[in-house]
């Protein structure tokens, strides 16, 4: 097939992804070029085959597997802080980790608790694990990361703040 500048536009034309100017150019060319009309039909045939492909069903246990993985993910290893004693520092995310672990332990079946935790809280807890910088022990109470999670579970005892 002879290369045409407009042949590059055929697939995009079939998908409605051309600008007005490009579409007008493609339509003008299609009226005049049989080779590109045949190419267009071939592209449309491929598109029909693919868009008609049956949907693959997600295995129902996959959500439980994901919830289990999220539930068993723990806080990252404590990073080294040069020149400072590790005992003087306390990871604030431990509160969130404890809250999440408690919820998983309370759950009726593996994964059930984490599946129903509001995602914002679940994500926030895990984000704290990933982004955690160590907090000095005296300031640990002020790291109120786990408070929203605890409140969600009906724990009204809030951390005392300085």
């Amino acid at each position: 097939m002879k290369e045409h500048e407009e042949s590059r536009l055929m697939s995009a034309y079939a998908d409605g992804e051309l600008s007005d100017e490009e579409r007008a150019r493609a339509e003008t060319h299609l009226r005049a070029c049989q080779a590109c009309r045949l190419d267009m039909e071939s592209l449309r045939y491929a598109k029909r085959l693919l868009s008609g492909a049956p949907r693959r069903a997600m295995p129902p246990e996959l959500i439980a597997d994901i919830a289990d993985r999220l539930g068993t993910a723990g806080p990252p290893p404590r990073p080294k802080v040069w020149g400072l004693s590790p005992r003087a520092w306390f990871p604030a995310g431990a509160f969130a980790a404890a809250a999440l672990s408690a919820m998983i332990w309370i759950g009726l079946k593996p994964g059930a608790a984490e599946r129903e935790i509001p995602l914002e809280l679940l994500m926030a807890a895990h984000s704290r694990y990933a982004a955690e910088t160590l907090v000095s022990e005296e300031n640990a109470a002020a790291a109120d990361y786990s408070s929203p999670l605890n409140l969600h579970n009906g724990d009204t005892d809030e951390l005392e703040l300085d």
């Binding site: 055929m10 085959l49 492909a53 049956p54 996959l62 994901i66 990933a130």
Partner: protein, 180 residues
């Protein structure tokens, strides 16, 4: 955003379908979806809330898959363009709402296997672009975001991908004695 259950209900099926068409088998698709959701949760802080979550999730899946393909290709004497090994998939994987007669179901299953084989024969960039466009219905702009490439590149990959796919599909059908 709701709970994990709600999130899975909203985009889990689409994510799994994309993963299956990309990876070509159930085992790898499950791993891909699982890893993507876990990463999405653990890296939620990096999620741009102005962007559809689905688009971000698909970007993660595509990146995970590419990383695995590159890692595998480095340890084995194959190229990224090599056809993938496939395993037989039971018909139960298709949505149970199908009401086809058994004979028609068999024909559709065989046709789907040919379709997947044709997809598997494509280089990963073509396979990704076609799956996102023709199977999952993303726009070119969304595909460009997911694949981290300009829209012009998306056009080229879809255009060439469809030509290669059709050629592979027809060759496979001819081999099966079904294409005239």
């Amino acid at each position: 955003m709701g709970s994990l259950s709600e999130l899975m209900a909203r985009c889990g099926e689409k994510a799994y379908n994309f993963a299956f068409r990309l990876a070509g088998n159930e085992h790898d698709a499950r791993d891909l979806v699982q890893e993507a959701f876990v990463r999405a949760v653990t890296h939620y802080g990096g999620y741009d809330k102005g962007r559809p979550f689905e688009s971000w999730l698909f970007t993660i899946m595509r990146n995970i898959y590419l990383d695995e393909v590159r890692r595998f290709s480095h340890g084995h004497s194959i190229s990224l363009d090599a056809p993938m090994a496939r395993e037989e998939r039971p018909w139960e994987e298709v949505l149970p709402s199908s009401e086809l007669e058994p004979a028609a179901s068999l024909v559709q299953r065989e046709s789907d296997e040919v379709l997947q084989k044709a997809l598997d024969s494509l280089a990963v960039h073509y396979r990704t672009a076609l799956t996102l466009c023709d199977i999952e219905g993303f726009s070119y702009e969304e595909i460009g975001t997911i694949m981290a490439c300009p829209v012009g590149t998306v056009r080229s990959r879809i255009s060439e991908g469809r030509r290669l796919f059709r050629k592979a599909y027809e060759e496979l059908e001819r081999g099966a004695g079904r294409f005239n």
